[in-house]
């Protein structure tokens, strides 16, 4: 096989496409976790987004409604998590797991009549430029609007967290809910908003899969991407820009594995698939060893229940 320059361009383009759901879901989860809430329901919210996006596309024949609807359905399903953890003060880990289990089941139930229906072609932007420029064409052009949004999102998230007042509020709530509350910030409302935002992004990530990446509905089609997104947030030590880099690495591993399978390479593909998880564990060990490092990187109140006596 020849590795000419145009092939590498196409390869990079496909790595970018495969990393989009990871970027979207992880960026959403990052905001949620930065506010001190650990939502293990990413996989469940993504699969609900995937089926509602696809179902709305089939019913309304309108891709815009499908995309917006998938985000709304992510918001609705994450509202269950928000209500339980924030209003009824339930344990984050158990509630998130329940959300994933529930979401996978509900999506299969809702999607029963949508199995086997062919998807619709999603419009791509600048498709003429993609063909005319040799190397950069397939990298920069000919993608869906969701991909461009996904690649802008980490920078927007970074700006939001570091430069805006609201971002500071989110970080304060995550790092020290008690002092934030004493400053007059309504911790519960802030956390609700962050949870719902996370739900919207996970819904969009799911819709990207069922409408753009592999346009069809298959039961359990997120196939563990939600868990990888969750790992990615840790891998990126809760920093939005590193989420982008990590998503490209993890997405690259997926694509690499397909190509290696095709050319019959000797390294078992399962080892490559396991790499994101192993790398996340190593990163966790490295950042957790030093208590100062973990304080700098982790939202301090992550996963802890906040209760204020009224």
């Amino acid at each position: 096989m020849t590795l000419d320059i145009s092939f590498i361009g196409i390869l990079i383009g496909s790595i970018m496409a495969s990393s989009v759901p990871l970027i979207l879901a992880a960026s959403g989860e990052l905001i949620t976790e930065r506010s001190g809430v650990l939502n293990l329901g990413v996989e469940g919210m993504m699969i609900i987004g995937a089926i509602s996006g696809f179902a709305l596309m089939v019913i309304t024949d309108n891709l815009f409604i499908a995309i917006v609807g998938s985000m709304l359905s992510g918001v609705i399903i994450s509202l269950i998590f928000g209500f339980l953890t924030q209003s009824l003060l339930t344990n984050h880990v158990a509630t998130g797991l329940a959300l994933t289990i529930f979401g996978i089941g509900l999506s299969a139930m809702l999607g029963k009549n949508f199995v086997g229906i062919p998807g619709k072609e999603f419009p791509i932007l600048f498709s003429s430029l993609r063909e005319s420029i040799p190397f950069f064409g397939p990298i920069l052009f000919g993608h869906s609007i969701v991909l461009y949004f996904a690649f802008a999102l980490p920078f927007l998230t970074n700006y939001f967290l570091k430069k805006t007042k609201l971002g500071l509020v989110v970080r304060a709530v995550g790092d020290s809910p008690v002092s934030a509350s004493n400053q007059g910030i309504n911790v519960i409302i802030v956390r609700y908003c962050c949870i719902l935002y996370g739900g919207a992004m996970c819904g969009l990530a799911g819709a990207y899969l069922s409408l753009i990446y592999t346009p069809q509905w298959i039961e359990n089609m997120t196939a563990g991407r939600g868990w990888i997104a969750l790992a990615l947030v840790v891998f990126a030590t809760w920093s939005p820009i590193k989420v982008l880099i990590g998503a490209l690495i993890f997405g690259g591993i997926t694509i690499l594995q397909l190509h290696m399978q095709a050319i019959g390479f000797r390294i078992p593909v399962q080892f490559l698939s396991a790499l994101p998880y192993l790398m996340t564990i190593i990163v966790l060990v490295v950042i957790s060893r030093d208590s100062r490092k973990i304080k700098l990187n982790t939202p301090t109140s992550l996963g802890r229940i906040f209760y204020k006596e009224k």
């Binding site: 797991l97 289990i101 192993l278």
Partner: protein
């Protein structure tokens, strides 16, 4: 006016009563979902919860599915009671099955009474070793055990996948992703002719008795409970926190490993990709629903096993995907967690009655 107040003590009766509320709400919720999807809710629920257990074969299947759930949940109760969030039981189950299955494959063409005990022991040790990874990382590197144990689930599943398509695949198996069949000596003895229920159920019952003894009659059990209630008190009392974390993870992993080995030597009889329909995750629901109490867990494992079985029956009779079992499992946990609010808070009526003013 009403006011919500934190309770100082949790009433025991309410503590064990709320799981029943959760189950009833789940059945109601399931009925509503069936109605929305256009089924007759009463009939659908009947297919789900009554038809599957209305004959002897169904009852045997119920116990067959409850066995691994009960075993894993018993192990998890040690971790959860001491505030260690091991959510990777699915991985420990898989790794236990890999190690136990490896031993069974060594003896694939031999018979003998020594084989099954060796296979079971290997499975328990496998699960134990795998659970030690998050435990050691937590104690010595201060990592978050939730994330590590979760990541390891996928690592172990991929390892199993590699083994059954690669080095361990059946040489006479036409490249199917599965190993050789185990010899009869590596299989759990069946309890009744024609039913799939096997001797693994005694492992689960043994674990229940043993865990009750450890938790309520030994010093270790006391330490576990105290650490769960207050880490500060545990430290003040001089309990060895690190050792205890390792011990609870080892118990939990061994139980999950036993569950894995029980599946492959029981109903399955070989290794392949799909050895567990996420028993390790569902067992978390079982542990909660059973209130981390050994006898509560027996009851909860039967309830949750019924959702698996009901989903299979509903798939046949109503043509709905078997993933619907997970809708019920998710709902049980949602409602259970929500009803816990009643345990820790009480609603107080602040409206003064006329008589109150006279006193």
């Amino acid at each position: 006016m009403i006011k919500i107040e934190k309770r100082n003590d949790v009433p025991m009766a309410l503590y064990f009563f709320t799981p029943f509320i959760a189950i009833i709400l789940t059945i109601l919720g399931g009925g509503i979902i069936f109605y929305i999807l256009g089924f007759n809710p009463i009939e659908a629920l009947k297919f789900y919860f009554i038809t599957p257990v209305s004959n002897l074969y169904g009852l045997s299947e119920l116990l067959l599915k409850a066995t691994p759930l009960c075993l894993i949940a018993i192990g998890l109760s040690f971790c959860f009671k001491s505030n260690n969030w091991n959510i990777g039981a699915e991985g420990q189950l898989t790794f236990g099955a890999i190690v136990g299955g490896g031993v069974a494959l060594l003896f694939y063409n031999q018979e003998g009474f020594h084989i099954l005990p060796l296979v079971i022991l290997a499975g328990a040790i496998g699960g134990m070793i795998f659970a030690l990874i998050p435990a050691i990382l937590k104690t010595y590197f201060n990592t978050n055990e939730i994330l590590v144990s979760l990541m390891l689930v996928y690592v172990s599943k991929l390892l199993l996948d590699y083994l059954v398509v690669g080095p361990w695949s059946n040489p006479e198996g036409f490249n199917f992703p599965e190993t050789r069949q185990f010899s009869d000596s590596s299989r759990m003895p069946l309890l009744f002719e024609g039913l799939r229920i096997h001797a693994g159920i005694f492992l689960a019952l043994g674990a229940v008795m043993l865990s009750w003894f450890i938790l309520y009659k030994t010093y270790l059990g006391f330490q576990i409970k105290v650490s769960g209630l207050s880490l500060k008190t545990a430290k003040y009392a001089g309990f060895k926190g690190k050792t205890m974390i390792l011990v609870v993870f080892m118990i939990s992993g061994a139980c999950a490993g036993l569950a894995g080995v029980g599946e492959i030597t029981g109903p399955i009889g070989q290794l392949h990709r799909m050895i567990s329909p996420d028993y390790g995750f569902t067992a978390i629901i079982v542990a909660f629903l059973g209130r981390l109490n050994p006898f509560g867990i027996i009851f909860a494992s039967l309830v949750v096993a019924l959702t698996y079985l009901g989903a299979e029956t509903a798939q046949i009779f109503l043509q709905i995907p078997k993933y619907t079992g997970q809708v019920f499992q998710g709902m049980i946990l949602f409602f259970l967690l929500a009803s816990d609010y009643l345990l820790f808070f009480k609603v107080k009526n602040l409206n003064l009655k006329k008589n109150d003013l006279r006193h």
